[in-house]
Symmetry: C3
Subunit: 343 residues, 3 copies
């Protein structure tokens, strides 16, 4: 899962300047207070300088202003943008090629299921009949893949995820632990006073590089399809209802919910715990703030918040107005009484 790199190699990788021993072996990254002798740490803000003498880290990443520090780890790497450098280093230390290719002997593989090239299938995975899987897919323990599902190349289906019958995943799709994709939606008709479920015979398709968070639910279409566009990333515990269509490269944060048949454009950002009613249209590049309650269409490019969600600045202005009105409400009532009947 993790490799070791020498400090000199790391400095070259991030285009930084190395100060101190180049042979120090870096095996991980940790904060100043948590790092051990094999870790690279980092000075995130000037206010953390006082922690530097006590850190046990073997090396530290600093900005040019701390180039000349005399305390802390003997090995220093000087870069302009420590955050960008950290991502590069984490990437390099991380070894994504670790899976043991092969099918665990306990996996149940349905008749007609097939894949191309390498595959990793974990213990107790259940793969249905006539499933088609591309190359280099990794399927975790306890995963269930329904009959006739189709997976592209390089998909990663983590432990306990469920891919329902007939779901189609593009290349590089990631489903995190416990994600449910293609479950029947929540839609009923009234028959003699009973809520009778509408059969969900529609499709569910995820484009290339879509990511679905842990325990997130994506319902299949009732009639027609639920579609998530290429490059869209969805966080944990999100609800995507039946027949929702989401464009490309959207970011949808944890616990957001999208009701049935709503259509979302490209490059939309939906923050945590926001909710969208059904049958709406959200334009490209719209930004929906955390906890917004969206009950109408959203134009391209706007930023909205609140319930009912409106222009974010107007919402902030109204909240400020209310804070100013609350202390004078009794006076205003007296003024209004003097000016005759109320509205």
């Amino acid at each position: 899962m993790s490799r070791t790199l020498k400090a000199g190699r790391v400095a070259t990788l991030v285009g930084g300047e190395l100060i101190g021993p180049p042979d120090m072996a870096i095996a991980g990254i940790a904060s100043l207070d948590e790092a051990g002798p094999g870790d690279l740490t980092f000075l995130a803000t000037a206010s953390h300088v006082s922690y530097l003498p006590a850190t046990r880290a073997g090396a530290v990443l600093v900005t040019p202003e701390f180039r000349a520090l005399t305390t802390g780890p003997a090995t220093r790497i000087v870069v302009d943008d420590p955050r960008a450098a950290l991502i590069l280093i984490a990437d390099a230390l991380h070894d994504p090629d670790s899976p043991t290719w092969g099918v665990h002997p306990t996996a149940v593989i349905g008749a007609g299921a097939r894949w191309s090239g390498a595959i990793a299938v974990g213990a107790y995975a259940v793969i249905g009949t006539d499933v088609r899987i591309g190359g280099e897919c990794r399927i975790g323990p306890h995963v269930t893949i329904g009959d006739r599902a189709v997976l592209g190349d390089r998909c990663r289906i983590d432990a306990h995820a469920v891919v329902a019958d007939g779901v189609e995943l593009g290349n590089g799709v990631v489903l995190k632990a416990g994600a449910r994709v293609g479950t029947p939606g929540f839609a009923f008709v009234d028959r003699d006073g009973h809520h009778t479920p509408i059969p969900h015979i529609g499709a569910c398709r995820l484009g290339d590089d879509v990511e679905i968070g842990a325990n997130t639910t994506v319902d299949r279409g009732s009639v027609g399809a639920t579609v998530i566009g290429a490059g869209t990333k969805i966080d944990n515990l999100v609800q995507v209802a039946h027949n929702v269509r989401i464009g490309r490269r959207c970011l949808i944060m944890a616990q957001a919910g999208i009701a049935g048949t709503t259509t979302i454009g490209d490059d939309v950002v939906i923050a945590g715990q926001a909710g969208l009613a059904g049958h709406l249209t959200v334009g490209d590049r719209a930004r929906i703030a955390a906890q917004s309650g969206v009950i109408g269409d959203v134009p391209e490019g706007v930023t909205i918040s609140g319930y009912p969600a409106r222009d974010h600045r107007a919402v902030l202005r109204q909240a400020a107005a209310l804070r100013r009105l609350a202390p004078i409400v009794a006076t205003l009532e007296r003024v209004a009484a003097q000016h005759g009947e109320t509205s």
Copy 2:
């Protein structure tokens, strides 16, 4: 999972008029842009007429106003209510009797577990000791059913659902993928500064035809029972806490949450992401809008919204009032200052 029906048979089924070849074989339903030659499509709104020439669908469902169209599929079925017709057709195409009855050889069946008549148990399902199951139940792969649980007839427990020890399900209950029913609740007493969990020895009972959404959680009672009445349908990612009692035929949308010991009447609708505090009573036929925060009892038949949730129209009126007051707040402050001390 899916059958094929001839167009003439479909027209008869929905009481519609057939125009064109009656032998066209319909195998699925899809939207105008997605349909293939074996699909029935539908003209949902007049604004979609322009898509008709390009559709690849084999047949189309239209309202009488589009009876005489000269473009689009050769086979047309004319009905007054396309939406109702679609549900009937989806029902007819859908084949719910597809399960292969039998117990997968990898299923673990506890001592004393028994069922009547046909049963379908998927791969790696685990059924506890002394479990009683009715006829024609379908239990998906990786399902866990705890000791002494009781299931009625025709239940469908989807992949990865958990039914805890002693939970009782009526007839026709549906648990979707990853639902957790009968888990211990969240309740503590303080002992020497520690939050000590109260043992949850209470029951958990779901009436006939209850449906529980994917990854939804239903806690068992601490002392006494958590009860969900017949015909109530619950969507994905909903939280139902310990000792909650829900009446019959309620609809509870995705990501709603109900805290401990709250009692809900019959025919109540709780929209998405709404939250109800504990120890409340909600009257029959109340409607709770999306994202409402309910912190007091709710009378029968009312519609409420907002936080704290109040009469929905009052909330909308207040939101409109604030939008009108925000631009004049500075003037109102000056007026109030002229009228003496603030409240």
Copy 3:
């Protein structure tokens, strides 16, 4: 799972006075309307006295004011605090030592995994390589524990929970059904217009006696750790993002969400569906009301609510002010117009 205790023994246990036959055998606790002959029931409020004659319970717990009742069960136990007594009795009836110690033959145990003393491992559990487990841990069916994870003594990992690679759990940790602990977080960098995931190589550590609710998700750190302090209890369907640090003895209710890198002190209470933005600091003993939207740091000891979350009393005052202003908004507009230009 449950024991039987005689009424006399129960009265002694709770320091109560026994009236009636001491040999009545109590096997459970139930409400007045649900209790059977083997159950102890309780008179929670004076308004329930009318239910007493009809109860089938074998014994009833009452406060001194109902000591002399002549209706209801022949066996009565008189205590000052029925709620505290019920918890003691539930504890005594509950038999937490019921697990059959041993490893189910279907469990898959990785190379190098080891434990000390008794262990209970359920059917189809999958335990990775080099996992270390303390004594008397109970691991439910279908649990997945990743490589190199570390569990303390007396942990309880319920059915379908996932403990990811390298996660560290203290003693007495409880993970309820479907909890996901140590999943990779939701963080990306833009590379050529693509959201490229940051590798999550950080740690995830839960202190002693931490409890994680059903289907709750706890992401691991990207760089550095996600940490939950000893004695903190988290309810169902909560989201804890990467690099969050939560102190000791916090209570976090259902469907709350905490975004990345936020730090929370000790003894904090976060009520249901509250959301906290990322990179915040919440002081010790703060109380965050249900559905709050927290977008700034929170001082020690305060109670906040609303969106953006502010002092709870100010929020209630402002809501009351708006209710008073809404009916006079037209008059106030006229007044403002008379006083010149708007702000």
